[in-house]
Amino acid sequence: MNVRSPDMNRRWNRKDLLGLRELSADEINFILETADAFKQVGTREIKKVPALRGKTLVNFFVEPSTRTRTSFELAASRLSADVINISASTSSLTKGETLKDTAKVLEANHADIIVLRHSSAGAPQFLAQRLKSSVINAGDGAHEHPTQGLLDLYTIREKREKIDNLNVVIVGDILFSRVARSNIFGLLKLGARVTLVGPSTLAPREFEKLGVSISHKIDNVLPDADVVNLLRIQHERQRKEYFPSIGEYTQLFGLTKERAKLLKPDCLIMHPGPINRGVEIDSEVADGLQSVILDQVTNGLAVRMAVLYLCGGIATP
């Protein structure tokens, strides 16, 4: 698997994965197909392959994250790369060093792949334009979270055997969600119909220009849904102007046990985590038969292995 086939050279030529918006449907499908092979590796007794042996991956997380960082770290280890974790508190950023200077230091230390999580939209683009290393976006502000988008696509494709023509409903804080944006871009490219659901402050009309529908009545859209993707809702910090209370949110938009009865039996229930049980989703629904939340986590590993493998093979530091 560590030899690049002619097919691979034809279908993937990017050193970076910055977002799903700039990818073609074929590029997205190629990542998903590559992930199939890595998913199979995960079922073997020896889960490690030598694809990135001798390469160094830096998990550079300027914004805190546990599950995404762990997933990238595991993915890189299974590809035999050397992994270094740097967080905002351990980097020189806290000493006033700029992002550019910190990244240049990483590159000077021969980092082949930099996985960046950052609170500012566009930070991965900023690095990618300035470094020869591969830059993988692990979430930038409210912009994109492409590997989350890819693992959601992978999970839908795996469970429903296609994405084209499916009705996908994304519920929650759309405005501030990078997961929502990467899902919207990816799903539309692969032919799904996307409906956003949430309070009009968090699912504003401007999103219609991206090619999606918007609804503020969840009960109206659940019966036709093939996939319901619930986003984590936050109220504690800066969302106080956007909706009155968690209670009212749950009342209007929570996927309760009663509402779940409106769903078709084969509708998938997804959530990028971490879940607020009893807020955006009832506990029983999160653990129910239609929930694929843990499959998403497992698939995240395969998808991230595919992304690191494809981009890491292009990088020439």
Partner: protein
């Protein structure tokens, strides 16, 4: 005695409704009659202006010179050189320096520094509020005595309407115009780009047009209430133009200014997160650009200015959210305006463009400048309206390079700048 004659140029002097091909004489730093030259015994400097426009020295009433406090971005000397290279003989510098120009000694320092190092006329503006904090009035009377031509908290906006009302009412007794950066902090929040399609797509915090329009409306109401001039700086939104148009039709003492970037670019330019397109107020939609162009065409927007805002490379080369707002503008401003307003869109003729850059700001600020009347100080700009040139930031006189127009090909520019009869810059 020194004498200069500018021969065969097209003299455009909107204040005197002049537009003719004629020689212009300068004697001892002032505009003179042609006959005063004939009697000259000493050598007369001759400037051939055939094919060129001879205009009153241009005025830019919205410039950040960064001195005192941030001389790594710009100094009064480098900013004045940039002005000269852009065709400007008079610039008004904003008070958001460090320390801010909210006290007479800082104004005195700026004036001394400008007299020592500035090759063009540098006129300081003073703050509206102490420390530009919007909480209590700056010593407006002392600032006026120290020689400010206007007051403004530019870069900031007084949010308290009562404080703003009293500032306008107080400035009225000195006849001091009040300039305002129109931004409602509650509506704008941490917005960094125009709220619209691109902010939605890129997940960048939106700066809604209503955040400007609300303060423009506030200013219209206060200008009426106090019967005194308020000038709205760097107007960017269609709704602001509509509000200003209605108020000016009723004779309210309100005016608006336009910057080159707001008519040359839209928010589409931010799609690669290039911080040289991060500006406050932000680049807006095509609909807003069209409204600004109409506002210029019908006189609603009467002032052209750059909002020249230099920043060092290392300050701009950071994450989009973190980067400071602003772009340099002095050296591209005239080219952008001639190219777009006169040549490409045909919204105004070159005479009106010169008027908006000379006598309009001079009248607003009540300064003696902006004309070629006999006896006036000989501030003159020679313009080639058809010269084709390319913007190269690495040749800028400004100490900073943060221009959104690097590489742009423009038609029309200043070719010679004369301050008090002395050539301070020549292409």
């Amino acid at each position: 005695m020194s004498a200069t004659i500018i021969r065969n140029g097209r003299v455009i002097d909107p204040a005197n409704k002049r537009d003719e091909i004629v020689d212009l004489a300068i004697v001892d730093g002032r505009i003179a009659q042609r006959s005063e030259i004939s009697g000259q015994k000493s050598e007369v400097e001759e400037i051939d202006a055939k094919g060129l426009i001879v205009a009153p020295g241009l005025i830019d009433m919205h410039v950040h010179l960064r001195e005192p406090g941030s001389s790594h971005k710009e100094t009064i000397a480098s900013g004045a050189r940039a002005a000269a290279a852009g065709g400007f003989t008079t610039i008004v510098c904003m008070p958001n320096t460090s320390p801010p120009a909210d006290n007479p000694s800082t104004i005195a320092w700026i004036k001394d520094r400008a007299a020592e190092t500035g090759c063009v006329n540098v006129l300081p503006s003073g703050a509206i509020s102490k420390d530009l904090a919007g909480e209590e009035l700056a010593p407006i009377g002392s600032l006026e005595e120290a020689g400010v031509v206007a007051i403004t908290d530019d870069g900031h906006c007084v949010q308290n309407h009562e404080l703003m009302r009293r500032a306008v009412e107080y400035a009225r007794m000195f006849g001091l115009p009040v300039l305002d950066h129109c931004q409602d902090y509650n509506l704008v929040g941490n917005g960094v780009v125009h709220e619209g399609y691109w902010s939605t797509l890129l997940g960048l915090a939106g700066w809604p047009a209503a955040g400007e329009e609300a303060i423009v409306l506030r200013n219209i109401l206060l200008a009426e209430l106090c019967d005194h001039r308020i000038h709205c700086q760097h107007i960017s939104a269609a709704g602001s133009v509509r509000l200003l148009r209605e108020a000016r039709t009723r004779g309210v003492k309100i005016s608006g200014e336009v910057c080159p970037h707001h008519i040359a670019l839209t928010d589409e330019a931010i799609q690669n997160f290039d911080t040289n397109f991060k500006i406050n107020p932000p680049l807006r939609s095509q609909r807003d650009v069209d409204a600004l162009l109409e506002g210029i065409a019908d006189g609603t927007l009467s002032i052209l200015a750059s909002d020249h805002a230099p920043h060092a490379d290392f300050e701009k080369e950071v994450e989009f959210d973190v980067a400071p707002f602003g772009v340099v503008g002095l050296e591209t401003e005239l080219g952008i305006f001639i190219d777009l307003l006169v040549h490409k869109h045909g919204k105004i003729d070159i005479g009106r463009l010169i008027e908006m850059h000379t006598i309009e700001p001079a009248r607003l600020l009540r300064i003696e400048a902006g004309t070629l009347s006999s006896g006036a100080v000989a501030d003159v700009t020679l313009i080639d309206p058809n010269l084709e040139w390319a913007v190269k930031t690495d040749t800028f006189q400004s100490a900073s390079r943060n221009s959104p127009f690097d590489g742009w090909k423009l038609r029309g520019r200043a070719v010679q700048t004369i301050v008090s009869g002395k050539t301070v810059w020549k292409l």
